[in-house]
């Protein structure tokens, strides 16, 4: 176990960037851990892997990885990633984003890349608020949630990001939480191996931001909230309709895994057909 | 030798294509040409205008200042631009689509059967090509084969024969017009 930790740290982490900016109890570090282990398990050539992100705490992750990284503008990571991938299809593109970056300002790029099915792995760290700017309301804040821009409790309905990804056409969609690190890692591994737009949503605690304002206590209690309020998809699907209605828990697991023509492959198929020697 | 030609018509009559072909013909003939256009958002009806400047030298001002030739295939187009016509220029209208008396300015004025000829050939759509054929012989600024080459490369292949015929008919009409003008002069 320790050998593996040392191996991951030495191979993938950018030494000069530590200590990180993340708060005590932040779940983003766990997502980084899962992602790097997934990459290692897949056996990706790190020289041919590009990490792309937008703006936010989640989007800081590429800076901590010793690899090519592109830290772009708020919400636009996926658009940049489309260019990076198409201009050199040999690269593996991994996008780190947050709930606000992806589904707020970045919503349009998210749904179109899913629709086109451009080969990339999008890891969305969903902590129910805009953490970096001081815990404001985000498109995934639960109803009644207290944030800096919903001081009386959120009155808006939130997105179900995974449902949005499925609706937009993403062929691989998985939803986990940081309390399930093994499953999160395996989902990311599968997403990377999948040729197509892979979307992995990871519910993550933000104790200093959302957590503190919503009486989700620090550390283990905050994590336990996720354990208590989530239910695996396979178990959920066995419920009767009535049980499903009464359930009230967040359904997690591998939510979609289908085969679909992938954009890069389809484009170069077209090139093959019309190319002029 | 700067020659300014202004074509006006209704949207859908192919006047802009005519302007493009005319300009391309000039390039084929080793001259310089600039073609511009304006039209409304409607694809049929509305006003359409194409302008072509042809010169042996470099062309600076790219639009018509005072047209040497005004060709009008629609009444509103004619009404709008006839006011700007200068002495010594040539005005050509379609005898059926435009109703007009000779303008008060000293100019050559012809009413030609473009629409009628197109109908005779079986399709009104080639009216603009017939007109180009006539313009070719009337203006004399582009060699016939060079302009015909431009026609050929701008029309769909399956209508090539029809368009060549239309062009040649138009050319003949123009030749007769010039002959008649010379006879009238004497």
């Amino acid at each position: 176990m320790f050998r593996q930790v040392k191996h991951i740290r030495e191979k993938y982490l950018e030494e000069n960037m530590w200590p990180s900016i993340f708060c005590q109890g932040c779940g983003i570090g766990i997502v980084l851990n899962c992602s790097l282990r997934a990459i290692d398990k897949v056996g990706l050539d790190i020289d041919k892997t590009v990490f792309i992100s937008g703006i936010g705490c989640s989007s800081r992750l590429p800076g901590y990885i010793d690899a090519d990284g592109l830290h772009t503008t708020h919400g636009r990571a996926i658009a940049f990633a489309t260019g990076v991938k198409l201009a050199n299809p040999e690269l593996d593109v991994i996008v780190f984003t947050g709930d606000g970056d992806l589904a707020g300002i970045g919503g349009n790029h998210f749904i179109h890349a899913a629709r086109r099915n451009v080969d990339m792995t999008v890891i969305c760290i969903n902590n129910y608020n805009y953490g970096m700017t001081g815990a404001q309301l985000s498109p995934t804040t639960p109803i009644g949630g207290f944030t800096m821009t919903s001081p009386f409790g959120n009155i808006e309905s939130p997105f179900d990001l995974s449902a949005l990804a499925i609706g937009a056409g993403a062929p691989y969609v998985a939803k986990w939480a940081t309390v399930y690190p093994q499953e999160t890692m395996m989902a990311i591994k599968k997403g990377i191996e999948k040729k197509g737009f892979s979307f992995i949503e990871v519910l993550t605690p933000c104790p200093v931001g959302y957590g503190r304002k919503n009486k989700l206590k620090d550390g283990p209690e905050n994590l336990l909230w996720y354990k208590k309020n989530t239910i695996g998809r396979s178990r959920y699907e066995k419920f009767s309709d009535e049980e499903k209605l009464k359930c009230g828990k967040i359904v997690i697991g591998e939510l979609r895994n289908v085969e679909k023509p992938e954009f890069t492959a389809e484009w170069f198929k077209l090139v093959d057909e019309v190319y002029v020697e | 030798m700067r020659t300014e030609i202004r074509f006006v018509a209704c949207g859908g009559q192919g006047i802009i294509l005519a302007g493009v072909i005319f300009g391309e013909g000039a390039i084929n003939d080793g001259k310089n040409a600039v073609q511009t256009q304006s039209y409304g958002p409607e694809s049929r009806g509305g006003a359409a205008r194409a302008e072509v400047i042809i010169s042996d030298e470099k062309i600076d001002y790219p639009m018509v200042i005072e047209a040497d030739f005004l060709i009008a295939l629609s009444q509103p187009g004619y009404d709008k631009y006839i006011a700007e016509i200068k002495p010594g220029s040539t005005v050509i209208i379609d005898e059926d689509l435009v109703d007009a008396d000779k303008p008060p300015v000293e100019c050559a004025f012809y009413k030609l059967p473009f629409a009628k000829t197109a109908d005779r050939l079986g399709n009104r759509i080639v009216m603009n090509i017939i007109m180009l054929g006539s313009i070719c012989s009337i203006t004399g600024v582009i060699g016939k084969e060079k302009l015909l080459k431009a026609v050929k490369s701008n029309v769909p292949e399956k209508f090539l024969e029809l368009n060549i015929k239309a062009f040649n008919e138009g050319y003949k009409i123009g030749q007769q017009t010039v002959k008649q003008k010379n006879i009238n002069k004497k």
């Binding site: 056996g43 690269l91 090139v271 | 600039v34 073609q35």
Partner: protein
């Protein structure tokens, strides 16, 4: 652990921007067709891009710039490049920046409203020193304005549209041939200075048809960014080697470069709390262009070296140069002496060249298709040496020769 590669092997028919050999160039020539053509400005721009080695185009439909995107969607797959219609203009400019870092010469085309949307990412391209070409086919504004009518209303926006301190390059073609030639030039400048370059054309030249002659391989220069050959553990993506221009690396070459829009050190890593780091960075970004402005600026002088008592000079750019060329010839025939300075590089602004003209004349006429943009830069460069007389026209029609002649004659009394 089984080693598993997930990505595709690039198919043989994908052609990267580099190397760009004579064979590659001639392949593009074969696809484009004849050497001499009668074509629109926008088509000439797409041809210029492909002949310069552009292999990635991303755009969004907008009047009057659609022809460039349509031609690219038709030609790009034939030469083995990528053309994608993105979901909006912001995505388009994002994609071309990403593609550029992945090793493709990349380009987008838009008009006023789209150009406004792109500004944040243009600032990002300037901050991250990513080469790319943005074509703005200017149309009458503000806002939706007159979509089908040309104008010259985005000149200031091209330089000042994004926030903060940065410099970039903008070029204005005056003929359809220049649309082709200056697109090639735009790519070369972009690669040399690692900066976004704006091609400021307008709806008139964009849609006008004129003769174009395609260049031969020997006629053009193919410039590729200064790439690093530093050892991987010593490489710093934003280090100044004395030229103010860093050594770039391409994603996938093993350099592990971190590219961010945050203020960063030479290593690429963020340094937002350090005043000295920020100052050093933005000064270098600006100096990179400013100290090289002599090499970058292009103007055309049509000066008369006649008497000392010349009163009139005139400055033009883009489509107004066509009218000005015409009247200058006419006016000289009537005996008026007039110097004509045609600006090709709107940014960096040719202040020395304008000052030189101001020394020779009593007044400079500045016709523009807007309510005053370049005339302000002219006034600044003139610094009181002579009068500056703007001639503004809006609504989509270009100045008639008489309109400018009237202004010149009126003032001469």
């Amino acid at each position: 652990m089984k080693k598993q590669k997930t990505s595709f092997k690039i198919k043989a028919r994908y052609k990267p921007s580099r190397p760009f050999t004579k064979d590659d160039f001639n392949r593009v020539r074969r696809v484009l067709g004849k050497k001499v053509m009668f074509a629109q400005g926008e088509i000439a721009i797409s041809y210029g891009g492909l002949l310069a080695g552009c292999r990635f185009f991303a755009g969004y439909p907008i009047t009057p710039a659609t022809e460039t995107a349509e031609m690219m969607s038709f030609l790009m797959p034939k030469i083995g490049g990528v053309c994608i219609q993105m979901e909006d203009e912001i995505a388009s400019i994002g994609a071309i920046i990403g593609a550029s870092r992945s090793g493709a010469k990349s380009m987008t085309a838009t008009s006023g409203p789209g150009f406004s949307l792109m500004q944040e990412n243009i600032g990002y391209a300037a901050m991250t020193e990513t080469p790319c070409v943005i074509v703005d086919v200017q149309r009458s504004g503000p806002s939706t304005g007159q979509p089908t009518e040309g104008a010259q209303g985005d000149i200031m926006q091209a330089k000042w549209g994004s926030h903060g301190d940065y410099e970039l390059i903008a070029l204005s073609p005056s003929t359809v041939q220049e649309c082709l030639d200056l697109t090639i030039e735009a790519f070369n400048l972009s690669e040399t200075y690692q900066v976004p370059v704006i091609l400021l054309t307008d709806g008139i030249i964009g849609h006008m048809r004129e003769k174009i002659v395609l260049p031969e391989y020997e006629d053009i220069k193919f410039i590729w960014r200064k790439e690093t050959s530093a050892p991987k553990d010593k490489y710093e993506p934003f280090k100044d080697d004395g030229t103010k221009i860093p050594e770039m690396s391409t994603f996938g070459a093993g350099y592990h470069a971190y590219i961010t829009g945050l203020t960063h050190k030479e290593s690429g890593y963020p340094s937002t709390d350090n005043q000295a780091d920020h100052d050093r960075l933005v000064r270098r970004l600006c100096d990179k262009i400013r100290i090289n402005s002599e090499k970058i600026i292009r103007v055309e002088r049509d000066f008369q070296d006649t008497s000392e008592n010349k009163t009139t000079g005139i400055i033009s750019y883009g489509v107004t140069s066509r009218t000005v060329n015409y009247i200058v010839k006419q006016l000289r025939q009537t005996g008026l002496e007039i110097d004509h300075l045609r600006i090709i590089t709107n940014w960096p602004f040719p202040e020395n060249e304008v000052a030189e003209l101001a020394e020779r004349v009593d007044r400079i006429i500045v016709p523009e298709l807007n309510l005053g943009q370049v005339c302000h830069s002219v006034k600044e460069a003139v610094a009181g040496r002579c009068e500056v007389v703007p001639v503004w026209k809006t609504g989509g029609l270009i100045h008639t020769p008489q309109e400018i002649i009237d202004v010149i004659n009126r003032k001469a009394d």
